[in-house]
Amino acid sequence: MRKWLIGLLLIPIVFVLGCDSGNQVRVAVAGPFTGNAAAFGEMIKRGAELKAKEINEAGGINGRQLKLLFGDDTGTEKEAKAVATRFATDRRVLAVVGHFNSTCSIAGKPIYKENGIVELSPGSTNVDVCQGSDWTFRNLYRDDFQGAFIAKYIKTYLTEYKTVGVIFENDDYGRGLRDGFLAEAEKIDLSVVADTAYDRDTTDYTAQLTNIKAENPDMLLISGLYGQAGLIAKQARNLGITAPFFGADGIDSPEFIIIAEDAANGTYLSTPFTFRAGGDEAANVAKAFEAEFGVPPDTWAALTYDAMGMIAEAIEKTYNSDAPLAENRKAIRDHLAGLDTPEEGYTGITGLTYFDKNGDTVNKPAYVKIVKDGEFTMAENQLLDSE
């Protein structure tokens, strides 16, 4: 009787294991699907889903269907570690696309490294994200570039704004971007009159903004994410700060405008990609995306779409169903690490991606957008000769 019961219990286990060796390959996507970067997470999920759908409709990867697993890191370090552990120890997952928040990518890095699985971030820009691990890559620029870019842009094109105040979120992203900006501002003699931090769990910034107002900067750099930035914009206007805002890719979401409302108008922001600068292929993807989800894609959907494409290509070129998991995971890493020159690089809708020895992408330019009448539009002047 007992043996019979155990046998019965074993059936579903065998069944589950049996499914795995079937003709599927699994890739995990980790991002902030809830929490205060949820608007980005939603786009990341959709970008990944669209690419996977296109691959599967075209016959899959070498005849195998690509199956995605999603893990919600809520944009926090703690959850990111839990998600990273879950994916890294999952015997079915070949690679991870994610995380989005720099803090999360950094939190997951040692876990992915220890278990030997690739982490390819479509959104983390902090300088340290790829340092110290051969397994972490990203397909967009770093904040030292972005911060310096913003300083140069203000100095070159926004010459009527002589002084800048900085308000930054006290996390890896906000600090890193602010550091990059301050370093370049000093080099090119752009005057920074205020520099103050905020915590993402607070929603009242009047104390910091009152301090900034006392210094009367001509422009205010907000180094943080769209939700808090939207509130900062609103509260700054209410306190009578009339300086325009400059943000970075962290506020590149329609949510910023929804939250800040009228206060968003006139805000400049830098971003790693915009569909207006993309080619025909990007336009086609945008059309397919809108048909599928009913909303236009944003920067993060595009970068995730490309990241998924890179992983799929790596699997296509290296996957060996007879080899053990660790070997397949390593082959994907070796393939990505091999994309180290412009000739070897991967061309996607966001342009050419290739990695330096850290796993960073250093060739991609930044674009500047401006909010006009409640819409993002391309700024008149672009500073594209990067570096």
Binding site: G35, A207, N211, A214, R237, N238, L239, G240, I259, E261
Partner: protein
Amino acid sequence: MDEFFQQLINALVLGGIYALIAVGYTMVYGIIQLINFAHGEVFMLGAYFAFTLVTAFHLPFWAAVPISMILCAGFGLLMDYVAYRPIRNAPRLSALITAIGVSIALQNIARIIWGAKPRPFPSDSLPSFMRQLGQNETPEIYFSLLGIEFTQANISFSENVSIAYLDFFIILLAIILMVALNRLVTLTKIGKAMRACAQSRIAANLMGINTNRVIAVTFAIGSFLGAIAGVMVGVREYIEPTMGYYKGVAAFAAAVLGGIGNITGAMFGGLLIGFAEVFGAGYIPYGYGSGYRIAIAYIVMIIVILIRPTGLFGKSTGHRA
């Protein structure tokens, strides 16, 4: 000096919000010694109810706010009836765990219904005086009185010291509601019953007071006040499922700081936490310091508790409930 007065106003507004929420914690604790962690979620629901009434049912703001408050009061009753009444005589730990469970459940239900993304109150649904200014608008001056200018956007005391009408309204509302609550507890029959329950629930019951009813009324009043705070914060900032958690923790700290169970204590505790946060962020040298404003507020709380373990208005002074 301008900066100091502006910070003072900032602190008063934040403190007023905390005080309104803290009262809900402290009233319930005073009577049944339960830390109702779900109170922050009632605050959040108050904001979402008003938001839904305005956006989906197209009610005017002034109608949506009282309806939302009444809905929340009803919700407080329901919460007590479903979650807390069945375990009224169980060990206090069971009720505490239940409260945490209710809090997590409500947060996730809100996330399912309204989504995880923060939502602002649509500004065209708000009364015009709550509207914010765009970038290059110069506010029109309505009239001035004793050097104080009442403009289209705010009340302006000098060039650099001003208070938005909404913020002024929040402070005013906090004061009115606190006084009303104080009168209710000291002068009315139900207030007397509440004080009796706070002293001893068993004795009150023996004297013929329907303690279950008193507790239910306490939940309703606390939720009522929490809801209006929720709407005000929703208009001033934005609405999201976790808003009750962060504001709730700070308000709970305020209640403890003031002496939990004591209404006057909750008011002053709220103000003190607000002041500690704003002045901590405002006067710590530039850079990372202001990123730790919440920590500064909690350090103040810990210091007060170390010196006066029963809080500012501990049980020996004033009355509970």
